[in-house]
């Protein structure tokens, strides 16, 4: 069942459907996230379910620039989410983005172990498996409008844009605002207010 906003669909029905789906989804996420047995038994997978949701949600608060000299991507152009390295999400990411769209754009999950395959992704999750090759990857991606996200330690300090981390039982993130700027990404103020901001202009004192 396609959940894309159909132009013919009234907002009410769309909203209702969306709500219903969202509620189900949210219920399911929360069930997964806060179920003690599940959390304890499948803590990793549950963590990644949340991270998959975060990965998807960041798209909401990030604005990609238009490429100079490139035609602006069509509104229907799909939003590519790349997963570089060994995928920790399992089916969680696919299920998260299934039937989802961000600002009318379909979401395509792309998996690869080479950066070049994922160079045209708007969001790139760099798995822990690529920790060693982080620098070249980031270098490769320099000045590219790609939101780089990873749960590696010091990812942000190294020039990644957003690092996911777990504190308590909650997933949190930190943001390297200068990295974002270098990737020509505009981050939403809310995002900034929620995450820990590090970087040259961030004093990191504020969580």
């Amino acid at each position: 069942m396609p959940v894309t906003a159909h132009p013919d669909c009234g907002p009410t029905s769309k909203t209702l459907r969306t709500k219903a789906v969202s509620l189900l989804l949210a219920g399911w996420i929360l069930l997964l996230a806060f179920h003690p047995s599940a959390w304890s038994e499948e803590a990793t997978s549950r963590e990644y379910v949340v991270k998959a949701a975060f990965l998807f949600s960041f798209a909401h608060f990030v604005a990609w620039p238009h490429m100079a000299g490139q035609p602006s991507p069509p509104a229907s152009a799909p939003l590519r989410i790349g997963v570089l390295g060994d995928d920790p999400f399992g089916s969680a990411l696919d299920e998260t983005v299934r039937n989802e769209a961000i600002q009318g754009r379909k979401i395509i999950i792309a998996r690869s172990h080479t950066i070049d395959d994922l160079i045209d992704c708007q969001i790139l999750f760099i798995c822990r498996s690529e920790e060693d090759r982080l620098a070249p990857i980031l270098q490769h991606l320099e000045n590219k409008p790609v939101l780089t996200i990873s749960d590696m330690e010091d990812f942000a300090e190294h020039g990644g844009v957003i690092r996911l981390y777990v504190i308590g039982k909650k997933v949190r993130f930190e943001i390297n605002q200068s990295a974002a700027l270098s990737h020509q990404l505009k981050l939403d103020a809310q995002l900034l207010s929620l995450g820990r901001v590090i970087g040259p202009i961030s004093d990191r004192s504020h969580p």
Binding site: A5, K14, T18, K19, L23, L30, S57, H60, S193, L194
Partner: protein, 931 residues
């Protein structure tokens, strides 16, 4: 509480403006406040909604990334909004996610989210707003706000509104106060004008013109309307006054009644004749005046109102006045349509006067008719007796009266003589002791005024103290009218009419009686006039007859006179010679003497017969001197003379008339003219014969007797009476009375009506009397009484005239030689010298010659009738030659000359032919002796 519409206009206007202002302001303010309220709510909702939107946006990430602390932090920012009483964020599962409560707040937050929307609950505004991120439901935010701000705003608004309203009202009041005058003043002025127009009916006032707006136009129009009304009112008033004047000047009552019987018009004459005033009856119903159309006295009206009568129909009705009395009236009703309402216009004329006049006129007419009938009736009567009789009879029959009589007035005796009494008032006449021919003394007052020509009416005789009125009162008669009978300003009688009741003669009665008296007087006068006229006519007729007779007789007489003249001439010698012989011849034998005497008597009779012929035309034989006449002898002579009539002529018809003579012997002679007596008796004999066509006895009687009427006076002096009695048809009393009148005859064409008249004339001349006694069928007796001749008269019977002593020279002139011869012989026998001349001229010549020669004639005897030169010329010539010579004229017409008093001039004596010797001698002796 006065209603708004009763308030004065100014107050009204103010009220209206105020009310309008208040209402509009209140409405405006209410609307504004409502709007403000709604707006403030809207504002609140919007503000809250905005706030919720902001919060929703700002909490998207917190919800997305499940960061409740961040959410709480964000919500805390709400403390800058003091009206926010609380806020709660729910996650997508409807669980509370983050809350906000103000420091002092104590509000309860909902445990579960609700649908999107806001609501006002318990003075709070609550709002739920779902949070979406890219169409993805993230959660719900709940906000609760108090309404204090809203209330505050509203209060402030209301306060401001009230202030503004008050101020606006004050200004509106002031302005309306000022401005309403603009409208109110002209309207009030208009109102005052209209009021004065309405109250005083004064259309001359004008409203002051203010401005030129609609009010100005209204004022102008009003003024214009007033002018028009004034004009129309004037015209209307004038018209109405004119019509009212016309109506009021009408001599009929004009009553206008509408269809429902209500009086709408009532003119002045209606007031007069009905007694109701106009203001009293206008608007009331006709029935209220007792003039109900159902009133049977107004049946005429009923029929007219019922539509039966058309216009122009006039009914006579009996109408009722205010006092209930009724009067005859003439009603004509005209249906009028005024507007759409049918009216009845009644014209009522009081015809009492007319009725009375009609009655009077009818009375007058009947009186006039009566008068006319009486006049006609008395016009047919020609004697006073019957005229009066008719008058009184008619009065009694037609004019109820109790007593009437007509008296004749004797002015010299100053008394009234009762002429006629009414047949029905005999009882009163007896009571009055009045009979026909009784005399009434003329009273001082009543009758005396009447006899000087005035109508006297005594309405109540009891008030009069005069004897005659007292007599009437005693007889039971109380009112009297005495009407004089006047002819040519002379009262000759009085008509007395009386009634039992006093005051019972009306002026019309008096007038009628006056007129009747006039007519009666006129009729009486006419009757008298008629009598006079009849007499005059009879006289005239008699005269005419006499003239005719005389004319005839004159012609006859002229012829007879010629004959008589010739006979007289012829017998003159016989007479002269016979007389001469008897006188002068003593030697005559007795036989010869007897013969001569017979001749003499015969000649005398011839002469008498000739003379009688002349009596046909001769009126009087005055010169036939009365002489003693022997009546018996005359009777004998008459019988002889009339033998033919009483003997021969009846015998031819086969009837026999016996004549009887009963003559008293030794009667004295009467003094009469024998020939007239003879003639009278002849006439009587003829009458007697005519009265006995079947025969009978005619008796002539003579006796000494006096007439009946003179018996008393001349007892002893008796007269000689000659009776002629026949046994004929006799005469009626009427005929007897009138038989002596000239031209009265019972014989028709055969009689002249002069016979007995002539007898009567003879008897008159002889101072005699005539008596007529007759009985129809028995016969008639005429008695003629002659006076007896006395002795002196008797002595003249035989005059002895001796032969004259003197011998005279006489000239005798005649055209008859025989007469000349005999006359000269006789006169010569007397010793006179006689010269004869044939015809007049010769006589005159002879006399002339004799005068010249000196042989004058002592007398001239001449004939009258001679050719060429007649006796008159002869006499004239003789007298011119010798005035003293007497002229004796002989004439065959001598008696006529004498009778007519026509003795010719210059003639001293006229002698008839045949001349008697005696007369000649007398004449010669007289005239020549005188010389």
């Amino acid at each position: 509480m006065r209603r708004l519409s009763d308030l004065p206009l100014q107050r009204q206007l103010t009220w209206m403006v105020q009310a309008t202002c208040i209402l509009s302001l209140v409405l405006a303010c209410t609307a504004l406040a409502t709007f403000e309220w709604l707006d403030s709510r809207q504002d609140g909702v919007r503000d809250l909604s905005t706030l919720a939107d902001v919060l929703a946006t700002t909490t998207q990430a917190t919800l997305t990334f499940d960061d409740a602390d961040a959410a709480t932090r964000i919500l805390k920012s709400l403390h800058s909004k003091p009206h926010i009483l609380g806020a709660r964020l729910f996650n997508r599962d409807g669980e509370p996610f983050a809350d906000y409560l103000p420091p002092q707040g104590s509000c309860s937050l909902p445990v579960a989210p609700r649908q999107d929307g806001h609501s006002f609950e318990l003075g709070h505004l609550v709002l739920y707003r779902p949070i979406f991120l890219d169409n993805k439901f993230l959660g719900t935010i709940y906000l609760q706000s108090d309404l204090a701000e809203m209330h505050h705003r509203l209060m402030l608004f209301i306060a401001v509104s009230l202030i503004v309203m008050t101020a606006a009202l004050a200004i509106a009041m002031a302005l309306s106060r000022r401005l309403q005058r603009l409208i109110a003043q002209p309207i009030l002025a208009l109102t005052r004008t209209a009021q004065s127009v309405a109250e005083e009916q004064n259309y001359t006032v004008r409203a002051p013109a203010l401005g030129s707006n609609e009010l100005g136009l209204l004022t102008k129009s009003f003024n214009h309307m007033l002018s028009r009304i004034q004009e129309q009112n004037f015209a209307l008033t004038e018209g109405e006054e004119r019509i009212r004047a016309v109506l009021n000047s009408a001599l009929s009552a004009v009553i206008l009644v509408d269809a429902s019987g209500v009086i709408r018009e009532w003119n002045a004459h209606a007031e007069v004749i009905f007694g109701w005033k106009r203001p009293e009856v206008l608007g009331t119903r006709l029935e209220a005046l007792g003039l109900s159309p159902d009133d049977p006295t107004l049946q005429g009206r009923q029929s007219v109102t019922g539509g039966a009568g058309g216009p122009g129909r006039v009914d006579e009705i009996s109408a009722k006045r205010r006092d209930g009395s009724t009067f005859p009236a003439e009603l004509s009703v005209s249906p009028l349509k005024i507007g759409d309402v049918l009216h009845q216009c009644s014209f009522i004329t009081d015809i009492t006067e007319r009725r009375n006049a009609q009655v009077k006129v009818q009375e007058q007419v009947s009186r006039l008719d009566l008068l006319n009938r009486i006049t006609q009736a008395i016009g047919e009567r020609l004697d006073l007796e019957s005229i009066f009789q008719v008058v009184i009879r008619s009065l009694e029959d037609n004019l109820p009266i109790d007593f009437s009589c007509i008296c004749t007035y004797d002015a010299t005796a100053h008394s009234l003589t009762v002429g006629n009494l009414g047949s029905q008032c005999q009882s009163y006449a007896q009571a009055l002791e009045l009979t026909i021919s009784s005399t009434l003394v003329i009273d001082q007052n009543g009758l005396s005024r009447c006899v000087i020509g005035k109508l006297v009416y005594e309405p109540d005789l009891r008030e009069s103290a005069q004897p005659f009125p007292r007599r009437l009162v005693r007889a039971g008669l109380l009112s009297l009218v005495a009407a004089p009978l006047i002819v040519e300003s002379r009262v000759f009688g009085v008509l007395l009419v009386a009634r039992r009741n006093s005051q019972s003669f009306s002026s019309a009665d008096c007038e009628f009686l006056r007129q009747l008296a006039e007519h009666t007087a006129l009729a009486s006068h006419s009757a008298q006039m008629y009598g006079a006229l009849q007499g005059a006519y009879d006289d005239l007729r008699q005269t005419q007859q006499v003239v005719l007779q005389q004319e005839r007789l004159r012609a006859l007489g002229q012829m007879a006179s010629g004959i008589a003249h010739d006979i007289n001439n012829a017998i003159s010698p016989v007479v002269l010679y016979t007389e001469s012989l008897l006188e002068n011849e003593p030697n005559l034998s007795s036989r010869a003497r007897t013969y001569l005497e017979t001749i003499q008597r015969a000649i005398d009779d011839v002469a008498h017969t000739v003379a009688r012929m002349r009596e046909f035309y001769r009126q009087r034989e005055t010169q036939l001197s009365m002489g003693p006449v022997d009546v018996n002898e005359t009777i004998q002579q008459v019988l002889d003379l009339t033998r033919v009539r009483w003997n021969d002529m009846p015998q031819q018809r086969g009837s026999v008339i016996t004549t009887t003579l009963d003559l008293q012997a030794a009667l004295p002679a009467v003094l009469a003219v024998a020939s007239e007596v003879r003639e009278a008796l002849i006439n009587l004999v003829f009458n007697g014969v005519d009265a006995m066509p079947e025969g009978g006895t005619l008796t002539l009687r003579s006796l000494r007797k006096a007439p009946a009427s003179q018996d008393a006076q001349r007892g002893g002096e008796s007269m000689v009476c000659v009776e002629v009695t026949d046994t004929g048809i006799g005469m009626s009393e009427e005929t007897r009375r009138r038989c002596l009148e000239p031209f009265f005859t019972t014989k028709g064409e055969r009689g002249t009506g002069l016979g007995l008249a002539m007898v009567y004339g003879v008897m008159q001349r002889h101072s005699g009397e005539i008596e007529v006694e007759s009985e129809v069928g028995k016969g008639t007796t005429f008695r003629l009484f002659f006076p007896i001749a006395n002795d002196a008269a008797s002595s003249a019977l035989a005059p002895a005239v001796p032969a004259p002593q003197r011998h005279l020279r006489l000239l005798i002139i005649d055209d008859d030689p025989l007469l000349l011869k005999s006359l000269s012989d006789i006169l010569q026998g007397d010793g006179h010298a006689v010269v004869t001349a044939d015809r007049g001229q010769a006589g005159i010549d002879l006399f002339q010659t004799a005068c010249h020669t000196g042989e004058t004639f002592a007398a001239v005897i001449t004939d009258l009738g001679m050719p060429y030169v007649d006796g008159r010329k002869v006499a004239s010539a003789i007298k011119s030659l010798s005035p003293t010579t007497p002229v004796i004229m002989l004439t065959g017409w001598g008696q006529r000359l004498v009778a007519e008093g026509d003795i010719p001039a210059h003639v001293d004596c006229v002698l008839n032919k045949p001349p008697k010797l005696r007369d000649l001698r007398t004449a010669l002796t007289q005239h020549c002796h005188a010389q």
